[in-house]
């Protein structure tokens, strides 16, 4: 691909970018939030029309972009998207074959036997044995990823073709990642060229053969051999400045003080009577394998999902049975959920509206909205987190994913809650933004808040936590106390997983 330029109105987001793929090789594409990675993918997939001059070279011929879905298919270019792009209510075979159904000449009918066989063949090729007739909604996360890959690879001839993964590992739990990586390596080994968009530099280091780095829509490093570079070097290329490397735990010191929150007997669909104590000034990490109950913890603690148990905080004890978000918010517990667009932010409203929502009642009289403080809060979040563009009146949807995430965390930190509960706070966020976010968590703790980070990202946990609890089967299984490394966290989780199964 060459000469990729994309302008949205007056903003140019891609400047003469190019990506070169080699059969049988895995190429990673990295860059900060908003650097243009997804735009490259969307130009290639035909979603965006690039400015004139964008061409695709393949097999000695040139094609003008954008290409139609049909042409992409002919050329053997396929995509696996960030959210996998599956329809839950439809069956596995329909999800795999959509867009490619054969049709009887006279009856125009889908020959389901043939379709099932085709889906089966592709799944076999990927070494999967899932039932092709069941609904996709009933599958595990790992199997869902397989279905998405199967859709992409089915029409590729072995030893040919291109697959693009845009942050596809985002939605996968860590224990299935190894299998997913194997699948990708097998595909490459068959001779397929692979483009992998990712924010996880470890993943990039482990999986790719070469790396292309984007900054502000320009290619700043093209197909650097992975073996000849390092995480640090890649980070420098992405950010344009030298990254800070020493652990945040040391950069921002905190002093754990009194217990501010005591949770007893937290019970939900997976959690079974979990007890938890949090100290002011402490950052606690919670992790575990899929279904160990850690995904449920933040929502139970904040009263966002029905459960049992009690939470005592600031001298008041609340029984979770029948309590809603409101009761726990009043105790000073703030929840930063996973899924910033579904549960975190309203993209159609302005940044200032979004930031000020939680304090709408407290900071106004019931009958009148005073507006000054709203912009003030939004601006303080913008300064605190270094958000660009720094405008409080812009709609949330106009910010990139990383900046949105900063707003989401800022909206809760502004109020200085007693307890900050975060679920996967750095998902889909680039290294620079990640560090900004994590540093702010440490600062919140230093200022006297209790912080709980529920995450499967061992790097994050190792970077900010004073203590990490690993869950298995709905109960605490192991604990780590600082200092520890990412490898320690990973190891502990693996041993907890073994215990669970």
């Amino acid at each position: 691909m060459a000469g990729l330029t994309k302008t949205f109105g007056r903003t140019t987001v891609l400047r003469d970018a190019h990506v070169d793929l080699v059969p049988g090789k895995i190429q990673a594409l990295i860059g900060q939030n908003g650097s243009g990675k997804s735009t490259i993918v969307k130009v290639l997939s035909g979603f965006h029309r690039p400015d004139a001059g964008a061409t695709l070279h393949r097999g000695g011929r040139s094609y003008d972009l954008p290409l139609s879905a049909h042409e992409l298919d002919e050329l053997g270019i396929a995509f696996v998207h960030q959210d996998l792009g599956l329809v839950d209510a439809a069956s596995v075979v329909d999800n795999i074959r959509v867009g490619r159904f054969s049709r009887g000449r006279l009856t125009r009918r889908v020959d389901m036997r043939q379709e099932r066989a085709a889906a089966r063949r592709t799944l076999d090729r990927l070494g999967s044995s899932i039932d092709v007739d069941g609904p996709v909604g009933a599958l595990s996360a790992a199997d869902r990823a397989i279905v998405a890959i199967a859709r992409a690879v089915q029409s590729l001839r072995a030893g040919d073709g291109v697959i693009v993964f845009d942050e596809s590992t985002q939605s996968l739990p860590p224990e299935v990642l190894a299998g997913f990586y194997d699948t990708i390596r097998d595909l490459a080994a068959d001779g397929t060229a692979i483009l992998l968009v990712s924010h996880h530099l470890d993943e990039v280091m482990a999986l790719s053969d070469s790396v292309t780095v984007l900054r502000d829509g320009r290619v700043v490093a093209s197909a650097v051999a992975t073996a000849q570079t390092s995480v640090r070097e890649l980070t420098r290329l992405m950010l344009g400045v030298d990254p800070q490397v020493h652990p945040l735990r040391e950069e921002v010191e905190t002093t754990p003080a009194d217990v501010v929150l005591t949770a007893t007997g937290l019970t939900g669909r997976r959690l079974r009577g979990l007890d938890l104590q949090l100290r002011a000034g402490e950052v606690l990490g919670v992790t575990g394998a899929t279904d160990s109950g850690h995904e449920e913890l933040p929502y139970l603690l904040a009263g966002a999902r029905p459960g049992r148990g009690t939470v005592a905080c600031g001298g008041t004890t609340v029984s979770l049975a029948g309590a809603g978000s409101r009761a726990l918010l009043d105790l000073g517990i703030a929840l930063i959920p996973q899924g910033r667009t579904t549960a975190g932010l309203a993209l159609g409203l302005t940044a200032s509206d979004n930031v000020s929502l939680p304090r709408m009642r407290a900071r106004n009289s019931r009958y009148r909205l005073s507006s000054g403080w709203q912009d003030e809060e939004a601006r303080s979040v913008i300064t605190e987190f270094g958000i660009t563009p720094p405008r409080a009146d812009l709609l949330m949807g106009a910010y990139s994913g990383g900046n949105q995430q900063k707003f989401l965390i800022g909206k809760w930190m502004v109020a200085r809650p007693r307890v900050l509960v975060l679920h996967e706070p750095t998902q889909a966020v680039d290294v620079g933004a990640r560090r900004d976010i994590l540093r702010n968590l440490r600062r919140a703790a230093a200022a006297g808040a209790a912080v709980v980070v529920i995450s499967i990202d061992e790097d994050d946990l190792a970077a900010v936590c004073d203590r990490v609890v690993v869950l298995a089967e709905g109960r605490p299984s192991r604990q780590l106390a600082a200092p520890f490394t990412a490898e320690d966290v990973l190891g502990t989780r693996v041993s907890a997983l073994e215990k669970q199964s």
Binding site: A69, G99, R109, V110, G137
Partner: protein, 347 residues
Amino acid sequence: MSTTTPDTGHARADGPRTEAPALAPRPSWWARTGPADLTRRGAVVVVWALMVVAFGIASPHVFLTSGTLQIILGSHGELIFLCMALVCVFSVGEFDFSVASVMGLSGTATSVMYVTHGWPMVAAAAFGLALGIAAGALNAVIIVILGVDPIIATLGMATALVGVALWLSNLTTVNGLPFGYSDIATTHLAGLPLFFYYGVVLVVVVTYVLFATPLGKHMTFVGANSEVARLAGVNVNRIRFGAFMFSGLLSGLGGLLLAANIGGYDPVSSTASLLPALAATFLGTAIIVPGRFNPVGTWIAVFFLYTGIVGLQLLGLSGWISDFFFGASLVLAVTVSTLLRRRVATR
């Protein structure tokens, strides 16, 4: 632009999350359909049966006759056409308020061209049908190409087209279509008019297309998640465009046949069919394939509603009670079906 999906729980996973045994042989339809499932699928049918029994007891000599069946099945043939138009549009995640007005436009245009302007019958009918398709295409251009919200666009079209029909007809009922033409709708076969059989054929065709052809599967994907469909190489806009055109075609056909049935057309009365058509189509989502717009369920819903109304009328109850029955049964049926689905989902 938000797509304003009139989806009734479409995107929701339909069954509980199960640890299905790997590659078990595919179970038969019956085995996959447990008793709870049957309740879900059949709740409305059971209510229908109970209703028939109740009316049968209340007026055995009038209600339990073949005549009653003929009335229920034989009138309102045009509703099936409108309902199928709605099923197609709803299936792709769009909305259409204008079906009844398009029907009125086609019926009026056909009658006016033949009766007032003396065109040959075939030309008049072709003109009526062409207007229906054109109206569908106009909807499609406004919604698919210009990106206007379908609820607003078709609401506006619905009103504007009544105006056009009134203008064509010079504000009155037009009458006097030839007998030969009327026969295409009114000829009886085994006690029922051809109009009824057209409806049956249409339901079969739409069911086949929706559930057994690539087009139908693609329509379902467009309705469930158009972005997924687009990425899978489905020409989403063509499918959305096509759904509106097809809706115009079916509504127009319904208008032609209704005009044949009546022998003429009253341009203003058409709007009265919108509500029953919407009601039956929504009620259909509670039958056979719960949670999905489906032709057979809709077909059953039409006759469910008219069984009630005809039954009440035969009991001498009419006026307010038919409105009440219509509305209340729609609310009740959909509520029950929602609750059943929810119970199954959380079991």
